[in-house]
Amino acid sequence: MNSLGEAFAAAWRLIAGFDAELAQVVGLSLQVSLIAVVIATLIGLPIGAMIAVGRFRGRQTLIVLLNALMGLPPVVVGLVVYLLLSRAGPLGNLGILFTPTAMVIAQTVLITPIIAALSRQIIEDAWREYDEQLRSLGARRINAAMTLIWDTRFSLLTILLAGFGRAAAEVGAVMIVGGNIAGVTRVMTTTIALETSKGDLPLALGLGIVLITLVIVLNALAAVIREMALRRYG
């Protein structure tokens, strides 16, 4: 009990004192997950919008598949990306295994289906309401997709935050493809896992506190944005 209390106190000292190692790990975490969210959005949002307004064969199957991919186990994603990037793998000559780039790739693979599937749902719901009006005004599908993305932008933003939360809190994929190398590929979740197994609780707890705070702040932000948008734009 006493040692737990000491660990908490030490964790607070690390956070309050902007401990260099802690700051470096948090910084890399944010950087990797932010880049992954941006790339996943650039890929996932157009896919989601296309499926939402498109009418083509196999659409329903694609939606089921996409929804299923939302639940991809991170360790499996890590394993597949690892195999692709390892020396013997098809992308081995890029030499990016055990670098932050590899971690960005793994997280992008993990959250692109989330962003595509959730944006598909939001855009399709809006499309039901807008469909006749937009067609009546002469909008083509591509115009309609752009209009719907713009009109649902606040709901879509909460999806991006959800994607970011998932990426930042995920441990399995980045552990495998990053290798958890101190000062290079060590992010919050992998550091927590390692330090806990080493018995160095202050750093693990400190990072845990930062991570939970981050997740709460993101969710609060999402709620505030939705609320504001609803009041302002109806």
Partner: protein, 240 residues
Amino acid sequence: MLPLELDQLTFSAGNAAIIRGISARIEAGPRTVILGPNGAGKSVLMRLCHGLLPPTGGRIVWHGAMNGGKSVDVRRHQAMVFQRPVMLRRSALANVMYGLKLAGKSRNQSGLRAMDVLEVVGLAQHAARPARVLSGGEQQRLALARAWALGLDVLFLDEPTANLDPASTQDIENIINAIHASGTKIIMTTHNLGQARRLGDEILFISNGRLMEHTPIDKFFRQPASSEAAAFIKGEMPWQ
């Protein structure tokens, strides 16, 4: 564009026949009111004419659309105002400009034109407000402005005042008349006989997916030809 000819038009959804062989010729000029009880197929007929639904049988021909042998894009010459206006999540002005932009107008042109029509429908002071926070009547006026701005040959209106109070209804009817006066053909549905009488020049009376009569408004109310129309008038205005 006009005249608009419907030739044995049918529409079914699954096994349910909604429009059962309607033939009619709608000329330029008079305000046409499609009248009938709820569920008669008025809205579906209008969506077929506007091209939002593909007919399951028969033809829709815009005779005026053949211009010197070249066919005109009929979609560009007609608009529709719905029972519940769909407003984009942007300002009132931007909603009007949206339609103009799709029609290929430049930003400058559309800005001026949009402000003009907002002025005419009495919404100029709300131009910068988000469209979705306007009242129901204001949103419907905005929907009319958005359609009117396009400078069309034909305007379809589907029960445009069904959800509105009497004052808003009168605003909307005044605007519809102004659009008519500007030379746009008005084709609207209603189940409200008072409105049909105020706004209509000719009546297409629809019952159970069939066209029962197509007559000038006076004749329709004085001596309806079909028993369905007579019953409808009697049911709506039992004091007559």
